[in-house]
Protein backbone atom coordinates (compact mmCIF):
# COMPACT_ATOMS: atom_id res chain seq x y z
CA UNK A 1 0.00 0.00 0.00
CA UNK A 2 0.93 3.66 -0.28
CA UNK A 3 1.14 6.09 2.63
CA UNK A 4 -1.60 8.66 3.03
CA UNK A 5 -0.54 12.21 2.19
CA UNK A 6 1.59 14.11 4.66
CA UNK A 7 3.78 17.16 4.61
CA UNK A 8 7.49 16.90 5.20
CA UNK A 9 10.15 19.09 6.71
CA UNK A 10 13.84 18.38 7.12
CA UNK A 11 15.21 20.11 10.17
CA UNK A 12 18.77 21.17 10.92
CA UNK A 13 18.60 21.26 14.70
CA UNK A 14 16.93 19.61 17.68
CA UNK A 15 15.37 22.99 18.58
CA UNK A 16 13.75 23.23 15.15
CA UNK A 17 12.37 19.69 15.49
CA UNK A 18 11.04 20.46 18.97
CA UNK A 19 9.25 23.55 17.64
CA UNK A 20 7.34 21.39 15.14
CA UNK A 21 6.50 18.81 17.79
CA UNK A 22 5.35 21.49 20.20
CA UNK A 23 3.08 22.99 17.54
CA UNK A 24 1.53 19.75 16.27
CA UNK A 25 1.94 17.28 19.12
CA UNK A 26 1.22 13.72 18.03
CA UNK A 27 0.01 14.91 14.60
CA UNK A 28 3.72 15.18 13.75
CA UNK A 29 6.06 12.21 13.65
CA UNK A 30 9.84 12.16 13.71
CA UNK A 31 11.60 10.14 11.03
CA UNK A 32 15.27 9.16 11.19
CA UNK A 33 16.25 5.83 9.59
CA UNK A 34 12.59 5.10 8.95
CA UNK A 35 12.98 1.33 9.03
CA UNK A 36 9.95 0.86 11.26
CA UNK A 37 8.00 4.04 10.56
CA UNK A 38 8.11 3.68 6.77
CA UNK A 39 6.55 0.23 6.94
CA UNK A 40 3.76 1.51 9.20
CA UNK A 41 3.22 4.51 6.88
CA UNK A 42 3.04 2.23 3.84
CA UNK A 43 0.46 0.10 5.62
CA UNK A 44 -1.38 3.24 6.87
CA UNK A 45 -1.02 2.13 10.45
CA UNK A 46 0.37 5.60 10.97
CA UNK A 47 -0.95 8.72 9.19
CA UNK A 48 0.78 11.85 10.48
CA UNK A 49 0.11 15.33 9.11
CA UNK A 50 3.77 16.22 9.17
CA UNK A 51 6.89 14.14 9.01
CA UNK A 52 9.85 15.83 10.70
CA UNK A 53 13.06 14.44 9.23
CA UNK A 54 15.78 14.60 11.88
CA UNK A 55 18.20 12.34 9.98
CA UNK A 56 20.61 15.14 9.05
CA UNK A 57 20.82 17.02 12.33
CA UNK A 58 24.56 17.46 12.90
CA UNK A 59 25.99 16.05 16.12
CA UNK A 60 23.31 13.41 16.75
CA UNK A 61 25.35 10.63 15.20
CA UNK A 62 28.52 8.89 16.26
CA UNK A 63 30.12 6.86 19.03
CA UNK A 64 32.32 8.58 21.60
CA UNK A 65 34.24 7.36 24.63
CA UNK A 66 34.38 9.78 27.52
CA UNK A 67 36.01 8.41 30.65
CA UNK A 68 34.04 5.30 31.60
CA UNK A 69 31.01 6.12 29.42
CA UNK A 70 30.38 5.37 25.77
CA UNK A 71 27.83 7.77 24.29
CA UNK A 72 26.06 6.67 21.14
CA UNK A 73 24.19 9.38 19.25
CA UNK A 74 20.56 8.65 18.43
CA UNK A 75 21.16 8.74 14.66
CA UNK A 76 23.96 6.15 14.76
CA UNK A 77 22.98 3.25 12.51
CA UNK A 78 22.93 -0.40 13.53
CA UNK A 79 25.66 -0.97 10.93
CA UNK A 80 27.94 1.67 12.44
CA UNK A 81 27.59 0.03 15.85
CA UNK A 82 28.16 -3.43 14.35
CA UNK A 83 31.42 -2.27 12.78
CA UNK A 84 32.69 0.07 15.50
CA UNK A 85 36.06 -0.90 17.02
CA UNK A 86 35.17 1.25 20.05
CA UNK A 87 31.98 -0.76 20.63
CA UNK A 88 33.77 -4.08 20.13
CA UNK A 89 36.35 -2.99 22.69
CA UNK A 90 34.15 -1.48 25.38
CA UNK A 91 30.62 -2.80 24.80
CA UNK A 92 30.98 -6.28 23.31
CA UNK A 93 27.32 -7.05 24.06
CA UNK A 94 26.27 -4.48 21.46
CA UNK A 95 28.68 -5.94 18.91
CA UNK A 96 27.16 -9.37 19.57
CA UNK A 97 23.58 -8.12 19.23
CA UNK A 98 23.97 -5.89 16.16
CA UNK A 99 24.31 -8.64 13.51
CA UNK A 100 21.05 -10.15 14.77
CA UNK A 101 19.07 -7.02 13.88
CA UNK A 102 17.08 -7.58 10.67
CA UNK A 103 19.22 -7.62 7.50
CA UNK A 104 22.21 -5.76 6.07
CA UNK A 105 20.14 -3.27 4.05
CA UNK A 106 18.02 -2.42 7.08
CA UNK A 107 21.03 -2.14 9.41
CA UNK A 108 22.51 0.39 6.96
CA UNK A 109 19.59 2.76 7.60
CA UNK A 110 17.98 1.96 10.94
CA UNK A 111 19.16 3.89 14.00
CA UNK A 112 19.64 2.98 17.63
CA UNK A 113 17.65 6.04 18.73
CA UNK A 114 14.70 5.03 16.58
CA UNK A 115 14.76 1.48 17.90
CA UNK A 116 14.90 2.54 21.54
CA UNK A 117 12.28 5.29 21.12
CA UNK A 118 9.90 2.90 19.34
CA UNK A 119 10.49 0.43 22.20
CA UNK A 120 9.45 -2.78 20.49
CA UNK A 121 9.95 -5.39 23.24
CA UNK A 122 11.05 -7.87 20.55
CA UNK A 123 13.88 -5.59 19.40
CA UNK A 124 17.51 -6.05 20.40
CA UNK A 125 18.67 -2.58 21.51
CA UNK A 126 16.07 -2.02 24.24
CA UNK A 127 17.09 -5.26 25.99
CA UNK A 128 20.78 -4.38 25.63
CA UNK A 129 20.13 -0.95 27.18
CA UNK A 130 18.38 -2.57 30.14
CA UNK A 131 21.06 -5.24 30.62
CA UNK A 132 23.87 -2.68 30.45
CA UNK A 133 21.99 -0.22 32.73
CA UNK A 134 22.26 2.48 30.08
CA UNK A 135 20.93 6.01 30.40
CA UNK A 136 18.62 7.53 27.81
CA UNK A 137 19.32 11.19 27.04
CA UNK A 138 16.19 13.15 26.13
CA UNK A 139 15.67 16.69 24.90
CA UNK A 140 12.29 18.38 25.39
CA UNK A 141 10.90 21.89 25.15
CA UNK A 142 11.78 22.50 28.81
CA UNK A 143 15.35 21.23 28.44
CA UNK A 144 17.24 17.99 28.71
CA UNK A 145 16.89 15.06 31.07
CA UNK A 146 18.46 11.65 31.63
CA UNK A 147 16.41 8.55 32.35
CA UNK A 148 17.72 5.12 33.29
CA UNK A 149 16.81 2.52 30.65
CA UNK A 150 15.52 0.37 33.51
CA UNK A 151 12.70 2.88 34.10
CA UNK A 152 12.44 4.33 30.56
CA UNK A 153 10.39 1.44 29.13
CA UNK A 154 6.97 1.63 30.79
CA UNK A 155 4.59 -0.57 28.84
CA UNK A 156 4.07 -1.94 25.35
CA UNK A 157 5.46 0.77 22.98
CA UNK A 158 5.17 3.20 25.89
CA UNK A 159 8.23 5.01 27.23
CA UNK A 160 9.20 8.04 29.26
CA UNK A 161 9.12 10.07 26.00
CA UNK A 162 6.24 12.52 25.53
CA UNK A 163 5.03 13.58 22.03
CA UNK A 164 7.22 16.68 22.36
CA UNK A 165 10.46 14.90 23.31
CA UNK A 166 13.39 13.76 21.23
CA UNK A 167 15.73 10.97 22.22
CA UNK A 168 19.17 12.39 21.42
CA UNK A 169 21.68 9.84 22.75
CA UNK A 170 22.24 6.77 24.87
CA UNK A 171 25.00 6.56 27.46
CA UNK A 172 26.47 3.16 28.25
CA UNK A 173 28.81 2.47 31.14
CA UNK A 174 31.94 0.80 29.75
CA UNK A 175 31.86 -2.95 30.43
CA UNK A 176 34.71 -3.78 32.85
CA UNK A 177 37.46 -6.02 31.49
CA UNK A 178 36.53 -9.02 33.62
CA UNK A 179 32.84 -8.92 32.72
CA UNK A 180 31.75 -11.08 29.83
CA UNK A 181 28.62 -10.94 27.73
CA UNK A 182 26.48 -13.21 25.62
CA UNK A 183 23.60 -12.25 23.34
CA UNK A 184 21.39 -15.04 22.01
CA UNK A 185 18.09 -15.21 20.25
CA UNK A 186 15.85 -17.79 18.65
CA UNK A 187 14.01 -16.86 15.49
CA UNK A 188 12.22 -18.79 12.78
CA UNK A 189 14.38 -17.29 10.05
CA UNK A 190 17.53 -15.18 9.97
CA UNK A 191 16.73 -11.55 10.65
CA UNK A 192 13.18 -12.14 11.87
CA UNK A 193 12.10 -10.67 15.16
CA UNK A 194 13.17 -13.07 17.88
CA UNK A 195 10.70 -15.54 19.36
CA UNK A 196 12.69 -14.93 22.49
CA UNK A 197 16.20 -13.63 23.12
CA UNK A 198 18.47 -12.61 25.96
CA UNK A 199 21.38 -10.44 26.91
CA UNK A 200 23.53 -11.84 29.72
CA UNK A 201 26.49 -10.22 31.46
CA UNK A 202 28.49 -11.63 34.33
CA UNK A 203 31.97 -11.65 35.79
CA UNK A 204 33.05 -15.25 36.22
CA UNK A 205 35.63 -15.89 38.95
CA UNK A 206 36.72 -19.32 40.10
CA UNK A 207 33.61 -20.87 38.66
CA UNK A 208 31.25 -18.39 40.35
CA UNK A 209 29.13 -15.78 38.58
CA UNK A 210 29.25 -12.19 39.85
CA UNK A 211 27.55 -8.96 38.79
CA UNK A 212 24.97 -10.87 36.80
CA UNK A 213 22.66 -8.87 34.54
CA UNK A 214 20.02 -10.64 32.47
CA UNK A 215 17.50 -8.98 30.16
CA UNK A 216 15.06 -10.66 27.79
CA UNK A 217 13.82 -9.83 24.32
CA UNK A 218 10.26 -10.80 23.37
CA UNK A 219 9.30 -12.01 26.84
CA UNK A 220 6.89 -9.32 28.01
CA UNK A 221 5.46 -5.88 27.17
CA UNK A 222 8.87 -4.25 27.66
CA UNK A 223 12.45 -5.49 27.59
CA UNK A 224 12.39 -7.63 30.73
CA UNK A 225 15.10 -7.43 33.38
CA UNK A 226 15.04 -10.89 35.01
CA UNK A 227 15.75 -9.79 38.59
CA UNK A 228 14.87 -13.02 40.36
CA UNK A 229 16.88 -15.17 37.96
CA UNK A 230 19.78 -12.73 38.37
CA UNK A 231 19.55 -13.16 42.15
CA UNK A 232 19.41 -16.95 41.76
CA UNK A 233 22.69 -16.89 39.81
CA UNK A 234 24.53 -14.14 41.71
CA UNK A 235 27.63 -15.34 43.53
CA UNK A 236 26.95 -18.99 42.70
CA UNK A 237 28.45 -21.67 40.51
CA UNK A 238 25.93 -22.58 37.83
CA UNK A 239 25.44 -26.19 38.93
CA UNK A 240 22.34 -28.05 37.76
CA UNK A 241 20.35 -27.13 40.88
CA UNK A 242 21.27 -23.46 40.58
CA UNK A 243 20.29 -23.39 36.92
CA UNK A 244 17.02 -25.09 37.77
CA UNK A 245 16.29 -22.42 40.37
CA UNK A 246 17.20 -19.65 37.90
CA UNK A 247 14.91 -21.13 35.23
CA UNK A 248 12.11 -21.41 37.79
CA UNK A 249 12.65 -17.76 38.77
CA UNK A 250 12.06 -16.76 35.14
CA UNK A 251 8.40 -17.70 35.63
CA UNK A 252 8.15 -14.69 37.98
CA UNK A 253 10.40 -12.41 35.95
CA UNK A 254 8.84 -12.77 32.49
CA UNK A 255 5.38 -12.20 31.04
CA UNK A 256 5.62 -13.71 27.57
CA UNK A 257 2.67 -13.40 25.23
CA UNK A 258 1.27 -15.70 22.56
CA UNK A 259 1.06 -15.12 18.84
CA UNK A 260 0.07 -17.15 15.78
CA UNK A 261 3.25 -19.20 15.91
CA UNK A 262 4.39 -19.45 19.51
CA UNK A 263 2.45 -19.88 22.73
CA UNK A 264 3.35 -18.08 25.94
CA UNK A 265 4.27 -21.44 27.51
CA UNK A 266 6.67 -22.22 24.67
CA UNK A 267 8.30 -18.79 25.00
CA UNK A 268 8.67 -19.29 28.74
CA UNK A 269 10.27 -22.68 28.16
CA UNK A 270 12.60 -21.32 25.47
CA UNK A 271 13.67 -18.49 27.80
CA UNK A 272 15.03 -21.16 30.16
CA UNK A 273 16.69 -23.06 27.31
CA UNK A 274 18.44 -19.86 26.21
CA UNK A 275 19.54 -19.16 29.79
CA UNK A 276 21.27 -22.55 29.99
CA UNK A 277 22.97 -21.95 26.66
CA UNK A 278 24.01 -18.43 27.57
CA UNK A 279 25.57 -19.42 30.90
CA UNK A 280 27.46 -22.25 29.22
CA UNK A 281 28.73 -19.89 26.53
CA UNK A 282 29.66 -17.23 29.04
CA UNK A 283 31.75 -19.67 31.07
CA UNK A 284 33.45 -21.02 27.96
CA UNK A 285 34.40 -17.52 26.84
CA UNK A 286 31.60 -15.22 25.84
CA UNK A 287 32.75 -11.86 24.60
CA UNK A 288 35.06 -9.89 26.81
CA UNK A 289 36.02 -6.25 26.48
CA UNK A 290 39.45 -6.10 24.85
CA UNK A 291 42.44 -5.04 26.83
CA UNK A 292 43.89 -1.99 25.16
CA UNK A 293 46.81 -3.09 23.03
Amino acid sequence: MKPSAFDYVRVASVEEALAHLTELGDRARLIAGGQTLMATLNMRLSAPELLVDISRIPGLSGIRLNGSTVTIGALTTHREIERSPLVAQHLPLLAQAAPQIAHAAIRNSGTIGGSVAFADPAAEWPACCVALDATIVIQGPAGGRRVRARTFFRNLYETDLTPTDILVAIEFPVTPLARRSVFLELSRRRGDYAIVGLALLARPAEGLLHEVALAYVGAGPVPMLARQAMAALEGRAPAASVMQAARAALAHDLQPGSDLYTSAATRQHLAGVLLDRAVTQLLSGGAAPHAIA
Binding site: M1, K2, P3, S4, A5, F6, D7, Y8, R10, I31, G34, Q35, M38, A39, L41, N42, M43, L51, D53, S55, R79, P99, A102, H103, A104, A105, I106, N108, S109, R189, R190, G191
Partner: protein
Protein backbone atom coordinates in the same frame (compact mmCIF):
# COMPACT_ATOMS: atom_id res chain seq x y z
CA UNK B 1 -6.52 21.03 -0.80
CA UNK B 2 -3.56 20.31 -3.09
CA UNK B 3 -1.25 17.53 -1.96
CA UNK B 4 2.04 18.76 -0.52
CA UNK B 5 5.00 18.67 -2.88
CA UNK B 6 8.71 19.16 -2.49
CA UNK B 7 11.50 19.76 -4.97
CA UNK B 8 14.39 17.35 -4.77
CA UNK B 9 17.76 17.21 -6.48
CA UNK B 10 19.75 14.01 -6.43
CA UNK B 11 22.14 11.96 -8.53
CA UNK B 12 20.73 8.79 -10.07
CA UNK B 13 23.21 6.49 -11.78
CA UNK B 14 25.61 9.40 -12.16
CA UNK B 15 23.09 11.84 -13.63
CA UNK B 16 21.71 14.84 -11.78
CA UNK B 17 17.93 14.69 -11.48
CA UNK B 18 15.70 17.53 -10.32
CA UNK B 19 12.00 16.74 -9.75
CA UNK B 20 8.96 17.72 -7.74
CA UNK B 21 7.62 14.85 -5.66
CA UNK B 22 4.92 14.20 -3.14
CA UNK B 23 6.59 13.67 0.24
CA UNK B 24 4.68 10.42 0.67
CA UNK B 25 6.26 8.85 -2.43
CA UNK B 26 8.90 6.29 -1.55
CA UNK B 27 12.14 5.99 -3.44
CA UNK B 28 11.27 2.94 -5.55
CA UNK B 29 8.00 4.42 -6.81
CA UNK B 30 9.95 7.57 -7.67
CA UNK B 31 12.58 5.61 -9.59
CA UNK B 32 10.01 3.49 -11.41
CA UNK B 33 7.32 6.08 -12.10
CA UNK B 34 9.15 9.40 -12.40
CA UNK B 35 12.36 8.09 -13.98
CA UNK B 36 11.17 4.89 -15.73
CA UNK B 37 13.89 2.89 -13.99
CA UNK B 38 11.83 -0.26 -13.62
CA UNK B 39 14.70 -2.58 -12.74
CA UNK B 40 14.06 -1.97 -9.04
CA UNK B 41 11.03 -4.04 -8.17
CA UNK B 42 8.30 -3.48 -5.65
CA UNK B 43 7.30 -6.62 -3.80
CA UNK B 44 6.00 -6.45 -0.25
CA UNK B 45 6.32 -2.68 0.21
CA UNK B 46 7.08 -3.03 3.92
CA UNK B 47 10.73 -3.94 4.03
CA UNK B 48 10.55 -7.72 4.11
CA UNK B 49 11.28 -9.02 0.59
CA UNK B 50 14.33 -7.05 -0.60
CA UNK B 51 13.16 -6.80 -4.23
CA UNK B 52 13.45 -2.98 -4.04
CA UNK B 53 17.10 -2.96 -2.91
CA UNK B 54 19.00 0.05 -4.29
CA UNK B 55 22.19 1.83 -3.28
CA UNK B 56 22.18 5.22 -1.61
CA UNK B 57 25.56 6.86 -1.09
CA UNK B 58 27.18 3.49 -1.77
CA UNK B 59 25.20 1.44 0.75
CA UNK B 60 22.33 -0.92 0.02
CA UNK B 61 18.96 0.16 1.39
CA UNK B 62 15.34 -0.86 1.09
CA UNK B 63 13.91 1.44 -1.55
CA UNK B 64 10.40 1.07 -0.12
CA UNK B 65 11.55 2.16 3.37
CA UNK B 66 13.01 5.46 2.22
CA UNK B 67 11.09 8.44 0.91
CA UNK B 68 12.15 10.09 -2.33
CA UNK B 69 12.45 13.39 -0.42
CA UNK B 70 14.94 11.72 1.91
CA UNK B 71 17.16 10.99 -1.11
CA UNK B 72 17.50 14.71 -1.79
CA UNK B 73 21.19 15.49 -2.21
CA UNK B 74 22.14 11.82 -2.19
CA UNK B 75 23.64 9.57 -4.84
CA UNK B 76 21.32 6.71 -5.83
CA UNK B 77 22.40 3.70 -7.88
CA UNK B 78 20.02 1.17 -9.37
CA UNK B 79 20.55 -2.10 -11.18
CA UNK B 80 20.43 -0.18 -14.49
CA UNK B 81 23.44 1.94 -13.52
CA UNK B 82 25.35 -0.92 -11.99
CA UNK B 83 24.72 -3.08 -15.08
CA UNK B 84 25.90 -0.32 -17.43
CA UNK B 85 29.09 0.26 -15.44
CA UNK B 86 29.97 -3.45 -15.63
CA UNK B 87 30.74 -3.48 -11.93
CA UNK B 88 28.79 -6.68 -11.34
CA UNK B 89 29.21 -8.21 -14.81
CA UNK B 90 31.01 -11.26 -13.40
CA UNK B 91 28.28 -11.82 -10.81
CA UNK B 92 25.56 -11.44 -13.45
CA UNK B 93 27.42 -13.95 -15.64
CA UNK B 94 27.66 -16.37 -12.71
CA UNK B 95 23.91 -16.01 -12.04
CA UNK B 96 23.33 -16.95 -15.68
CA UNK B 97 25.80 -19.85 -15.62
CA UNK B 98 24.47 -21.25 -12.33
CA UNK B 99 20.81 -20.81 -13.25
CA UNK B 100 20.47 -18.57 -10.21
CA UNK B 101 17.21 -17.02 -11.38
CA UNK B 102 13.94 -18.30 -12.71
CA UNK B 103 11.33 -15.54 -12.92
CA UNK B 104 13.92 -12.82 -12.25
CA UNK B 105 11.78 -10.71 -9.93
CA UNK B 106 14.22 -10.88 -7.01
CA UNK B 107 17.34 -10.72 -9.21
CA UNK B 108 18.09 -6.96 -9.28
CA UNK B 109 17.83 -6.74 -5.49
CA UNK B 110 19.72 -9.97 -5.05
CA UNK B 111 22.57 -8.71 -7.28
CA UNK B 112 22.92 -5.38 -5.46
CA UNK B 113 22.76 -7.12 -2.09
CA UNK B 114 25.40 -9.67 -3.11
CA UNK B 115 27.45 -6.84 -4.61
CA UNK B 116 27.89 -5.33 -1.15
CA UNK B 117 29.19 -8.67 0.14
CA UNK B 118 31.62 -8.97 -2.79
CA UNK B 119 32.95 -5.50 -1.98
CA UNK B 120 33.23 -5.89 1.78
CA UNK B 121 33.86 -9.61 2.49
CA UNK B 122 36.03 -11.14 -0.23
CA UNK B 123 36.49 -14.38 1.69
CA UNK B 124 32.89 -14.87 2.84
CA UNK B 125 31.85 -18.46 3.50
CA UNK B 126 28.62 -20.04 2.24
CA UNK B 127 27.15 -19.46 5.70
CA UNK B 128 28.07 -15.77 5.53
CA UNK B 129 26.62 -15.53 2.02
CA UNK B 130 23.35 -16.98 3.30
CA UNK B 131 23.36 -14.59 6.23
CA UNK B 132 24.01 -11.60 3.99
CA UNK B 133 21.23 -12.38 1.48
CA UNK B 134 18.79 -13.44 4.22
CA UNK B 135 16.79 -10.26 3.69
CA UNK B 136 16.16 -10.95 0.00
CA UNK B 137 13.42 -13.40 -0.83
CA UNK B 138 13.41 -15.61 -3.91
CA UNK B 139 9.97 -17.19 -4.29
CA UNK B 140 11.17 -19.51 -7.08
CA UNK B 141 13.20 -21.18 -4.27
CA UNK B 142 16.48 -20.64 -6.06
CA UNK B 143 18.68 -19.96 -3.03
CA UNK B 144 21.04 -22.90 -3.55
CA UNK B 145 21.93 -21.70 -7.04
CA UNK B 146 22.13 -18.07 -5.89
CA UNK B 147 24.60 -18.99 -3.14
CA UNK B 148 26.55 -21.03 -5.71
CA UNK B 149 26.74 -18.04 -8.07
CA UNK B 150 27.92 -15.65 -5.34
CA UNK B 151 30.44 -18.17 -4.07
CA UNK B 152 31.79 -18.72 -7.60
CA UNK B 153 32.18 -14.97 -8.10
CA UNK B 154 33.95 -14.52 -4.77
CA UNK B 155 36.36 -17.33 -5.66
CA UNK B 156 37.11 -15.98 -9.14
CA UNK B 157 37.69 -12.47 -7.78
CA UNK B 158 40.06 -13.86 -5.15
CA UNK B 159 41.92 -15.77 -7.86
CA UNK B 160 42.17 -12.62 -10.00
CA UNK B 161 43.35 -10.55 -7.04
CA UNK B 162 45.91 -13.25 -6.14
CA UNK B 163 47.17 -13.42 -9.73
CA UNK B 164 47.58 -9.66 -9.96
CA UNK B 165 49.56 -9.63 -6.71
CA UNK B 166 51.85 -12.47 -7.82
Amino acid sequence: MPLPEAEICLTVNGQVVRKRVEPRQHLVDFLREALDLTGSHLGCEHGVCGACTVRVDGRIVRGCLMLAVQADGRSVETIEGVSDSGELADLQHAFHQRNALQCGFCTPGMLLCAGELLATSPSATREEIREHISGNYCRCTGYQAIVDAIETTLASRRATAGASEA
